[in-house]
């Protein structure tokens, strides 16, 4: 027993160690992931960006996956900083404070934290305007629903997720004002069993298109089994449900990661909040499935063009909340500050933000 355990412990240590090993001369970039990379999902999308950096001359990357938020994260980040990594990307919200702590001790290292809000002299934060892609996938959902009930399996009621649901609902309403979006919270980012049960509960109340803010493809699976449609998130999930998958709102971190590495190499990097949008390609929609009529595809792609050019804004007034109170006045566009602190649902969303 003891022996087995110690062998396992050694193996674990080796894995962690090898993940962080590299020659000192290269421009070293480290990535910290909250979950295993797997085949799809949040960490997988970041890892695609990391692979793009590997193709840049002189750049070497490494990563540590499944790092719990908190103390463990601090150790992993500290370890990377000690080894002389030039840039460290931490890709989960809960890495914010551990990273800030390490950043103060290593002033020459560049620290980049994803989805948070804190900065330091050598630490920036970054995110993408996923809500723009959500709006476009909402248009597809609104066009494809027959029951006018669209289900949304969502993780936690935080501004990031609520913003996505609202943008999606506005996309739905832009093509189908009668449709409603029903939200079920699972209170977990990754639990396929609960996600699937939540998806089924939405199908049972008549939803015929489902989407998700979750990391597993369980929602897609549930939709396909019931003969309904589904919309993916994080990455193209069509392989999990080829008959159901209409489109997905996807992350594409490669251009951003390349940009940051170039800026650091040139010495022009700034410690600030980066919030890129669809115009720079950091968020996008996957190719639409064969069941989506051409007219719908054209309309969605036209809207995408307008979002890129800035002609179309997702959160442009008038926008009312569930009670009908005006939240964004006619002629106004929600500021970034308002978007980052969004805790209310737009009209047409059924569910509670608590």
């Amino acid at each position: 027993m003891k022996k087995v355990l110690s062998v396992m412990a050694t193996a674990l240590l080796l894995v962690t160690f090898c993940g962080g090993m590299a020659a000192a001369k290269d421009f070293q970039v480290g990535f910290v992931y909250v979950s295993p990379i797997g085949d799809a999902g949040w960490s997988w999308a970041h890892d695609q960006g990391r692979k793009a950096l590997d193709k840049m001359p002189g750049v070497k990357t490494s990563f540590v996956e499944s790092v719990p938020e908190g103390q463990d994260a601090e150790r992993v980040i500290l370890n990377m900083a000690r080894k002389g990594y030039r840039i460290i990307f931490a890709t989960s919200y809960g890495y914010m404070d551990p990273m800030l702590k390490v950043a103060k001790k290593f002033p020459k290292t560049v620290f980049m934290h994803c989805s948070g809000f804190k900065t330091a002299k050598n630490m920036g934060n970054y995110f993408g305007r996923m809500y723009q892609a959500r709006f476009l996938t909402g248009m597809v959902a609104g066009a494809m629903t027959k029951s006018n009930i669209i289900g949304y399996v969502a993780a936690f009621p935080i501004p990031e997720v609520i913003r996505g649901i609202n943008a999606f609902a506005l996309g739905v309403q832009s093509v189908n004002p009668k449709a409603q979006v029903r939200v079920v919270w699972t209170k977990t980012w990754y639990d396929p069993a609960t996600e699937k049960e939540a998806a089924k509960s939405l199908l049972d109340v008549g939803a015929d298109v489902l989407t998700q803010h979750q990391d597993s493809p369980a929602t897609q699976e549930a939709a396909q089994e019931k003969g309904a449609y589904s919309i993916g998130y994080n990455s193209d999930m069509s392989k999990f449900a080829p008959k159901a998958h209409l489109v997905a709102a996807v992350w594409n971190w490669s251009p951003f990661y390349r940009y940051i590495v170039e800026q650091v190499e040139k010495g022009t990097w700034k410690a600030k909040a980066y919030w890129w949008g669809i115009d720079k390609g950091i968020v996008n929609i996957s190719p639409m499935g064969p069941m989506v009529p051409q007219a719908v595809k054209d309309k969605v792609l036209a809207a995408k063009k307008d979002l890129i050019s800035g002609k179309l804004k997702v959160f442009a007034g008038p926008v009312a909340d569930q009670k009908g109170d005006t939240k964004i006045a006619d002629g106004k566009v929600a500021s970034d500050k308002e978007l980052l602190g969004m805790t209310w649902f737009v009209k047409g969303v059924v569910g509670s933000t608590q």
């Binding site: 027993m1 079920v184 209170k187 639990d191 509960s201 109340v205 369980a218 569910g351 509670s352």
Partner: protein, 305 residues
């Protein structure tokens, strides 16, 4: 009954099934006098073994069997500690949960997010069209039907067979059983490993039928609920079925309440299954739990020579 209620009850059966297998397994183990708190770890290992087997061989049926076998093997570790070395059953069981969960997460990490072959719903012709009962019980997958058989079989075995009586007497009064010439240690090995097999099947259900995916922490505390349900069921198979479906139903209910558009805070609804566990335990101990518990449960016995 309206569609909402019927679909809720059908969901209760499905989400109760993995817990049912695990509860039956723990009942069998405890009836032989061994307390195994490693249910959660055994389920995790069973789920991973089943998933990997189905993924590599393409046969979910084989995966289901291997999930059970893996569960039996891990339970064998518990038997070796408690029966071979007279180790403390509570400590060994807790260690098994940590070991099983850790092992499954470690070995399973490369397969997270991969989707494998599995079981899907297979309505039973004729029965599926029964009013009310059809949509609730007979439009499920094969593994749910197997659990319908497992309940009466375990009940019959424990109650009406010679072997069942032997196993129970070993759990009730090991000294008297030994004096009667029964191999106490042998029966306890059988009880623990057979119980581990059933628990492993519960884990396999999660990765083969409930979802067709592997993820770290897949069983998400269901093993612990099974341990509590054994007490709720007074160590009886038929009551385990009731308890598992009740619990599965509450889990499904809170998601469906949200989908139906209630404005209750979801945090409160998510608490429901766990609040129910506490209430059930209080009620159970308030009534007749002491008399139903195998008298020799958790007490180690010296080998005869």
């Amino acid at each position: 009954m309206d569609g909402f209620t019927i679909s809720l009850l059908a969901a209760a059966v499905q989400s109760g099934t993995p817990i049912l297998y695990a509860t039956l397994g723990e009942i069998l183990t405890e009836k032989s006098g061994i307390l195994n708190l490693g249910v959660e770890g055994i389920m995790m290992v069973g789920a991973l073994a089943a998933f990997l087997t189905a993924l590599t061989t393409g046969s979910p049926a084989l995966g289901f069997a291997v999930g059970g076998l893996a569960g039996a093997l891990l339970a064998g570790v518990h038997a070796a500690v408690c029966l071979g070395f007279q180790g403390n059953q509570v400590v060994s069981g807790l260690a098994l949960t940590i070991l099983g969960t850790g092992l499954a997460n470690f070995l399973g990490t490369p397969f997270v997010g991969k989707s494998g072959p599995g079981f899907t719903a297979l309505p039973i012709p004729g029965l599926a069209d029964l009013p009310l009962l059809g949509p609730i019980f007979f439009r499920q997958d094969v593994l749910v039907y197997l659990s319908y058989l497992a309940v009466p079989l375990l009940w019959l075995f424990l109650r009406n067979t010679r072997w069942g009586l032997d196993l129970r007497s070993v759990g009730e009064n090991p000294a008297a059983a030994a004096a009667n010439g029964l191999n106490v240690v042998g029966w306890r090995w059988i009880g623990t490993m057979a119980g581990g097999f059933l628990t492993g099947l519960g884990g396999a259900y999660l990765s083969l039928a409930y979802t067709h995916l592997w993820t770290n922490g897949l069983s998400a505390g269901r093993g612990w609920i099974a341990v509590a349900l054994v007490i709720f069921a007074f160590w009886r198979a038929e009551r385990a079925m009731l308890g598992a479906y009740l619990f599965g139903g509450v889990m499904a209910f809170q998601l469906r309440l949200q989908a139906a558009g209630t404005h209750l805070p979801s945090s409160l609804l998510l608490m429901l299954p766990y609040a129910l566990t506490v209430i059930v335990l209080v009620l159970a101990s308030w009534r007749q739990m002491r008399s139903a518990m195998p008298a020799g449960l958790g007490i180690n016995i010296e080998p005869p020579d």
